[in-house]
């Protein structure tokens, strides 16, 4: 008995030691492979003399092929629900084969994390300095990597290897974008330009509810209040129960107002008062100030607090874990969101074709205009770390995506395996005005003003598919995009209706009615921000939330302004003023 137990213990320990040793070996072979791969890379440099032609094109031609295989280590974020065709995986798929065929680049993934865990994983990489060759990081991570000196400049690699298309996308962002990706004149990252249209949060409203109650589309904040009140009190869904919500707002992880796209935020309402929280602006006398502490913001907050008190705004504002729930359940009449909110409502619309969501530029300001704050020129950065021997590979990999994405749609490859799931370093590289252009073409196409032959699809990757599908799904009249005028029973509907609603409904007001843009003077981070910003953000969020929810009087805004300035805000304003001269 005793012996057996001792033996068991000893065996366990032995197993630990053996397995420790075994895995040590495994990893040794791994590192050997890496060394071999690196050696290969070095060889290719050495081979320069022997086969100059082959290598030269690799380093200068955006689509040039390396003479010898080059291994690039990456990390990847993968949608945890992504499915793969038999025999394919993120590490072995058609896209990787194409990259290999075109450039002789072998992509090796050091790790693959879920998109939900990606940020944490990248932070861990930065903190432990175990970095892949090329990474796709957010603004905070990008700044940290710059600070820690983990990045190499890519000016030369980009100039000689980025395709004209990629260069044009990057230059479309202008100087504001250039400032964000440059340090001392050296380019440090390839940005993914933000779509201009994504910054604009318009009002999405249930047109069928408006019609049922005989109401007009609101224009001003006062109109909005009246409509919301009717939505709450007059049983727009006709079920005999007072269970409808006027305006749905941010969830417990959302923001009342933010820079750029902010689904379920109240940015449009703030903007109608001339208030732009979280934006750096010039005040009337030309001094730099912060939008959150401006007097206009106080007015907007007072109005929101009033609306909340009257029950026009969801009582669970800022408490809900998911604000889209009442929208999808058909219990809410109004929310604010960017053009892509069509994707949000698609499934519920397919199931309940009476839910007629339409987007309008509401509310207008006192001059009758719709104004929107605009986001930072980029929020995603592709960076090349110091240990990467082939910095030009970053541009090359993106070149291929830009050139061929359209043909992947045509060949059905995209439907089989979405590049946004598996293409290395994927970002949306569209013209900043892609959505506006798509709307324009689709509208003209439906009106019969143009045919598909007259469109140059080379710079508009998704447009061809959009045009084909809209023809099938859209019913007459072609200039009315009410949900009644779509054929939702077609087999193309589930996969495409979200995008088509997003463009034809979501982007429509932007194109038809136009809007004024307000840019922040500065989208970066100053020195003082690094240490004080989270505290100031908390101060703001707490004050705003308490005012709107009626737990603090509107006068607490003045205290907030004073505290904000005193606790580092003034220093930061001075710093921003210095940078944004």
């Amino acid at each position: 008995m005793k012996l057996r137990k001792i033996t068991a213990t000893v065996l366990t320990l032995a197993m630990i030691i053996i397995s420790l040793a075994a895995c040590g070996k495994e990893n040794n072979t791994d590192s050997k492979n890496t060394t071999a791969a690196n050696a290969g890379t070095e060889d290719s440099t050495k081979d320069d003399g022997a086969a100059p032609a082959a290598t030269d094109t690799a380093l200068t031609d955006p689509f040039g092929k390396y003479a010898d295989p080059v291994t690039i280590h990456l990390g990847a974020g993968l949608n945890p629900n992504a499915t793969f065709p038999e025999g394919e995986s993120i590490e072995k798929n058609d896209y990787l084969d194409m990259i290999k065929d075109t450039f002789n680049i072998d992509i090796t993934y050091d790790w693959v994390a879920s998109t939900t865990d990606l940020e944490q994983k990248v932070n861990m990489c930065i903190a432990s300095n175990t970095l892949p060759d090329i990474m796709n990081v957010n603004a905070t991570q990008y700044r940290a990597m710059l600070k820690y000196d983990q990045l190499q400049p890519i000016t030369k690699a980009f100039d000689s290897n980025a395709s004209d298309l990629l260069k044009s996308f990057v230059s479309s962002g202008g100087d504001a974008l250039k400032d964000l990706i440059s340090v001392d004149g050296e380019m440090m990252a390839i940005p993914a330009p933000e779509l201009t249209s994504s910054s604009v949060n318009t009002m999405w409203i249930r047109q069928d509810w408006l019609d049922a109650l005989g109401l007009e589309v609101p224009k001003t904040v006062e109109d909005l209040e009246k409509v919301a009140e009717s939505f709450v009190t007059k049983d727009p869904d006709g079920n005999g129960v007072a269970d409808t919500i006027g305006i749905v707002g941010a969830s417990n992880t959302g923001f009342l107002a933010n820079v750029g796209q902010n689904q379920f935020g109240f940015d449009a309402i703030f903007a109608s008062y001339g208030s732009f929280p979280r934006y750096w602006l010039k005040d009337g006398s030309g001094n730099v100030t912060y939008g959150s502490i401006a007097p206009e913001t106080k007015e907007a907050l007072a109005k929101l607090a009033d609306m909340y008190k009257k029950g026009l705004i969801d009582p669970e504002l800022l408490v809900r874990s998911d604000s889209s729930e009442p929208v999808l359940a058909g219990k809410a009449g109004i929310f604010f969101g960017p053009w892509w909110s069509g994707y949000t409502v698609q499934n519920s619309v397919l199931e309940n074709p009476t839910f007629d969501w339409q987007a309008y530029e509401v509310p207008l300001n006192s001059e009758g205009k719709f104004v929107s704050g605009m986001s930072a020129p980029t929020n995603q950065y592709i960076v090349v770390t110091k240990n990467c021997k082939n910095p030009e590979a970053a541009a090359k990999i993106i070149n291929l995506l830009l050139r061929d994405e359209e043909s992947w749609i045509a060949s059905g490859l995209k439907a089989k395996l979405n590049p946004s799931d598996v293409y290395p370093l994927f970002n949306v590289y569209d013209n900043a005005n892609e959505i506006e252009v798509s709307y324009d073409y689709l509208k003209k196409y439906m009106n019969g003003d143009i045919t598909m032959d007259s469109v140059d699809f080379s710079t508009h990757k998704l447009l061809k598919n959009d045009m084909e599908v809209i023809k099938k799904l859209k019913k007459e009249p072609y200039d009315n995009y009410s949900i009644k005028n779509w054929d939702l029973t077609k087999e193309e509907a589930p996969a495409n209706i979200g995008r088509l609603i997003s463009i034809m409904v979501g982007a429509r007001p932007l194109m038809e009615d136009g809007y004024d843009r307000v840019y922040s003077l500065y989208y970066g981070q100053t020195d003082t921000m690094a240490s004080k910003w989270s505290n100031l953000e908390k101060l703001q969020e707490e004050t705003f939330a308490k005012i709107v929810l009626g737990q603090a009087s509107i006068d607490s805004f003045d205290t907030f302004t004073k505290n904000w300035l005193a606790q580092g805000g003034q220093d930061i304003i001075n710093e921003v003023a210095e940078v944004a001269k």
Partner: protein
């Protein structure tokens, strides 16, 4: 134990039962809710209208799980982790606890070791150094990484040690008189008498390994090596659209399936449901133990 039941005692029994049943019902809510979600129509779940009864009852989620190999791979990893972790953990806990249950007279250095344990229970160097250490041991993407990562469960050691200390010293003395050494005393007297506490720490160890998801995330470089709770966690964490591009938002909205996630959460609890009653048996057999108390 037959005794005369007073009226007050009887009333207490009934109230007691009612209170316990109410408590039980309160505790069944989350699991029932998850079950309802997993049996409901996806659109209804997204709209948040499912509460305590399935809406649009269907078994699609469970059918889909059957075809999802990756889920069962992660399930198997967790089972391996629990079994290996249970053996290593419980073995080490018992072996460390026994000497520490001795008095200073019997084992002069015990206090030193005890405080080292307490110190290690409270202090850690943070995630990054821990990750680097694991990497140096080559325990990334390795089942032993998951088994050993948590280090010695000091809380359980203290629990067992206290239990050992409360066992009657007379038994031990008798064993020594018979010429038994510490190993024999440990295995033939202490272990058989400690079934309830062993069952407790077996449970704690198993549950600890089964529930843990953060280490699984840090110590794996791909989904294929995730234990089941890490696998589930990555599905259920709220997606932050603010940092995603349009294509990713579109994919997330299209592929996201709360009903399927709920089914996975539910299935991942089943092993726990099975193992607990099995261990409960040992809580009952421990009852004879008290008869030899000092």
């Amino acid at each position: 134990m037959i005794e005369h039941q007073t009226l007050g005692s009887k009333i207490f029994d009934v109230i007691n039962l009612i209170v316990l049943i109410v408590i039980t019902l309160l505790c069944i809510i989350p699991l029932w809710y998850i079950l309802c979600i997993s049996l409901s129509n996806k659109t209804a779940v997204d709209a948040g209208i499912v509460s305590f009864w399935p809406v649009g009852f269907n078994l699609f989620s469970y059918e889909r799980i059957m075809g999802e190999k990756a889920f069962f791979v992660s399930f198997w990893i967790s089972i391996k982790r629990v079994v290996l972790g249970g053996i290593v953990g419980v073995g080490c806990i018992l072996l460390v606890a026994y000497p520490l249950s001795k008095s200073i007279r019997q084992f002069p250095k015990r206090n030193l070791f005890m405080w080292i344990l307490v110190f290690c229970m409270l202090f850690n160097g943070g995630t990054v150094p821990w990750y680097l250490t694991m990497k140096n041991y080559h325990l990334i993407d390795n089942i032993w990484g998951l088994v050993l990562a948590g280090s010695l469960p000091v809380f359980s050691v203290i629990l067992v040690m206290n239990f050992f200390r409360n066992l009657p010293g007379a038994l031990e003395e008798a064993a020594y008189v018979d010429g038994a050494g510490p190993w024999k005393t440990f295995f033939s007297i202490f272990i058989p008498l400690s079934k309830p506490v062993i069952a407790t720490i077996v449970l704690f160890t198993i549950v600890g390994h089964w529930n843990e998801f953060f280490q699984g995330l840090v110590l794996s470089t791909k989904q294929a090596n995730y234990p089941v709770q890490t696998y589930i966690q990555q599905m259920v964490v709220t997606t932050d659209f603010s940092t995603m591009n349009v294509e990713q938002i579109q994919q997330a909205l299209k592929l996201n399936n709360k009903s399927l996630d709920a089914a996975k959460v539910f299935i991942a609890i089943i092993p726990i449901l099975i193992i607990y009653p099995f261990l409960q048996k040992y809580f009952v057999t421990g009852i004879t133990l008290g008869s030899v108390k000092e």
